[in-house]
């Protein structure tokens, strides 16, 4: 008994500390542990782009995707957003076709049009060899990708070359490749002397110079038909990052700040009220164990909130709903145990024995029930979209936490209180409903 009292005291202190942690980190503006709010609560824009990998070799896809991510990140940072998030997703659809996506979260940005415009301007730069093929009697010009793309660009600069056209200096764009790109460029140019190497910008050929000789040193110039302004824009856009693969906007969503704030307030209010009603119901029906379970439930909530802050789990409206529902479900294990304890008591066991047996008999059902709930939660998470994952993560965490809090916490609390030998009043305290025992 003393042992359980010590445990119970430790659990209570831990509960207070957790509650304090949750409260203190939320009221301290400089804390690193604020709740992380999803876009639907904080307001913001989410853009989902599909990367067109049809021209990319299967083995290079992951690399191309992470290069794409880097480029978009630079772009987003330029857009001036606090805490932007750029994620990639390689979804393999059930048909076996893999789809590569880029998910861009822009908290606080509600103007989709501006965001799309700012991200979408990024050019794709590709180098293709022009070869003529003969099919029957007709010859046609085919552009063969060389694998050299904007991904290998380290920077671009503007220069005015002494063009052959008399007098006027033509604007040129000087491309500096990174070391890998430089080697690739040298290899291509040495193997295809005399052929045309076309430079494609956003899918359009802008310049088709003939390769005169192998070019080492990793530099190339584009002498297109640009005006000085066009050339300057191109240089700027290339420096912001040329896209290694073309992308297209697939999904977009934006939530204004007012809607999100209202959702948070409503969610918090519903949570508090839900917790109080559930706790009152438990105390009213189960008396002493009810009080114990309300206490365990409070600890459960404090624990969940702390875990959500520490991991951190991004809270969405559906996540808050999941948390509130889990409050209702978390008492389930307690209900099972208390019902069991009551039955044992009726069969003439002493109160303490009844509590012990109640816990051990209820265990298999609690274990099987919780495990199946966790399985469905994990499959939910796999479903993927952010709104679903927000719920699934909180749901799985909640089931796990209730597993621990209901079984161990309420057990420790009850065993710390219920005496070895009991008189009539313990039968009442451990009883339930309108009955006397």
């Amino acid at each position: 008994m003393t042992r359980y009292r010590v445990f119970a005291a430790i659990a209570l202190i831990a509960g207070f500390l957790l509650t304090y942690f949750v409260w203190a980190t939320e009221t301290n503006p400089y804390s690193n542990y604020h709740f992380k709010l999803g876009l639907d609560l904080a307001g913001g824009t989410e853009l989902v782009y599909k990367a067109d990998m049809s021209q990319t070799a299967a083995g290079d896809r992951s690399e191309a995707l992470s290069a794409l991510q880097g480029v978009i990140e630079r772009r987003v940072n330029l857009f001036g957003v606090a805490e932007p998030l750029v994620q990639t997703e390689q979804a393999s659809a059930l048909s076996g076709v893999t789809e590569d996506r880029l998910i861009v979260d822009l908290p606080g940005v509600t103007d989709i049009k501006a965001a799309v415009a700012a991200l979408g301007q990024t050019p794709t730069l590709e180098f293709k060899l022009a070869t003529t093929t003969r099919v029957g009697t007709t010859t046609s010009l085919v552009y063969v990708p060389t694998g050299l793309t904007g991904r290998f660009l380290s920077n671009a600069s503007l220069q005015f070359g002494s063009g052959a056209t008399a007098g006027l200096a033509a604007p040129q764009v000087l491309l500096n490749f990174d070391s890998e790109g430089g080697k690739l460029f040298e290899k291509i140019t040495s193997e295809h002397v005399g052929e045309q190497l076309a430079i494609f910008l956003d899918g359009q050929p802008i310049s088709e110079p003939v390769i005169q000789e192998a070019i080492a040193g990793g530099q190339a110039t584009i002498t297109g038909k640009f005006t000085a302004t066009e050339a300057r824009d191109l240089v700027r856009n290339l420096n912001f990052g040329a896209l290694p693969v073309p992308i297209s906007l697939e999904n977009s969503s934006a939530v204004g700040p007012t809607l999100g704030a209202a959702a948070i307030n409503a969610g918090v209010f519903a949570g508090i009220v839900g917790f109080i009603i559930v706790a009152l119901f438990m105390i009213g029906w189960y008396r002493l164990p009810g009080i114990v379970s309300a206490l365990a439930l409070a600890e459960y909530l404090a624990f969940m909130l702390a875990v959500i802050k520490i991991i951190p789990v991004t809270l969405t409206a559906s996540g808050i709903a999941g948390l509130i529902i889990s409050v209702g479900m978390a008492v389930d294990a307690n209900v099972l145990i208390f019902e069991r304890t009551k039955e044992e008591l009726r069969e003439g066991k002493t109160p303490r024995e009844a509590v012990h047996i109640g816990f051990s008999r209820a265990w298999p059902a609690i274990r099987d029930g919780h495990l199946t709930m966790i399985i469905s939660g994990i499959i939910l998470f796999w479903l993927g979209t952010s709104i679903v994952q927000g719920f699934a993560l909180v749901f799985v965490l909640g089931v796990l936490a209730s597993f621990i809090s209901a079984v161990s916490l309420s057990r420790v609390f009850l065993l710390a209180i219920v005496p070895e030998t009991g008189e009539g009043k313990w039968h009442f305290l451990l009883g339930s409903g309108g009955r006397n025992s």
């Binding site: 999904n251 977009s252 209010f269 389930d332 099987d368 709930m373 469905s376 993927g384």
Partner: protein, 283 residues
């Protein structure tokens, strides 16, 4: 109840939202009260975006659903509706058709795989119980009940959608999957009790008919089933009446499912298990 639910699904149909079919959904707030919905529809129709569905959503706000819009079309629709009244866009979502159908596929897969894994788990958890029903018999019974447990709320929601213009979104799938988890838990508690009684009878050499064992087990666990359903229902009611509008329909589906699921695990587990037991007794 099952017949009504199936009838409702067949009769009203489950209208799939943009999460499944692709499309754009914008929520627009009218500062000075919402004009007639048909007027808004006419305004939207002035932009060439196909058919638009307009329904009121929350206080002074409407949601407008169209096919997937380009950013430019989105702007055009917004300026069309703000021509005559001062509006603010609260939220905008646009889903490409490809992603939508992919989600629909995934959702169906998720529901079936949850059921499948549950049969396996229950067959495993009850592996020591083999008489009079083999352990996988419990698994199959659970799945039969789970199918009912999600058909009933789905049927209700079909009727709800028909009368309110709501649509099936991804949260609806979440609600069904969460319900699967909840209802399995409910049935497992009853089966666990049956398992315990069977083991005890065998140990003490007691003869008891399977029907009696089931009846006893259901009676003993009934208070627990009802109380747990009550606490979850209380939390859900708080969400429905006080929670965010975004999760209201989700909570309603959950509530119907929890009530129906509790009812079905109390009333249906026995009628489903006994015929299986008889069938095996004959063999």
């Amino acid at each position: 109840m099952l017949a009504v639910a199936v009838g409702s699904i067949l009769f009203f149909g489950l209208p799939l939202g943009i999460d499944f079919k692709g499309g754009s959904l914008m929520q627009v707030k009218y500062e000075a009260g919402v004009p007639a919905l048909s007027d808004i529809q006419t305004e939207v129709a002035s932009v060439d975006v196909g058919t638009a569905f307009v329904r009121s959503s929350g206080e002074n706000a409407v949601s407008i659903r169209t096919r997937t819009l380009t950013p430019a079309e989105h702007e055009a629709v917004l300026s069309a509706v703000s021509k005559t009244a001062s509006t603010t866009e609260l939220a905008y979502t646009s889903v490409g058709p490809a992603l939508g159908s992919q989600f629909a596929n995934k959702a169906l897969w998720a529901i079936f795989s949850v059921m499948f894994v549950i049969v396996l788990y229950i067959a495993f958890a009850f592996r020591k119980v083999s008489r009079p029903v083999p352990s996988w018999g419990y698994g199959l019974t659970v799945v039969a009940m789970l199918a009912i447990d999600i058909i009933v709320p789905a049927g209700f929601y079909a009727a709800y959608c028909h009368f309110t213009g709501a649509e099936v979104d991804s949260l609806f799938v979440v609600a069904l999957l969460a319900l699967l988890g909840y209802c399995v838990n409910d049935v497992i508690v009853i089966f666990d009790r049956i398992r315990e009684h069977l083991a005890r009878n065998e140990k003490l050499g007691l003869k008891e008919s399977f029907e009696d064992t089931i009846g006893k087990s259901i009676n003993e666990t009934m208070t627990r089933s009802i109380n747990t359903a009550l606490t979850v229902a209380l939390a859900l009611l708080a969400l429905i009446f006080l929670g965010a509008p975004a999760t209201r329909e989700f909570s309603i589906v959950m509530l119907i499912g929890v009530v129906a699921g509790t009812f079905s695990s109390i009333c249906r587990s026995a009628p489903l298990l006994i015929p299986i037991a008889k069938w095996f007794a004959k063999k």
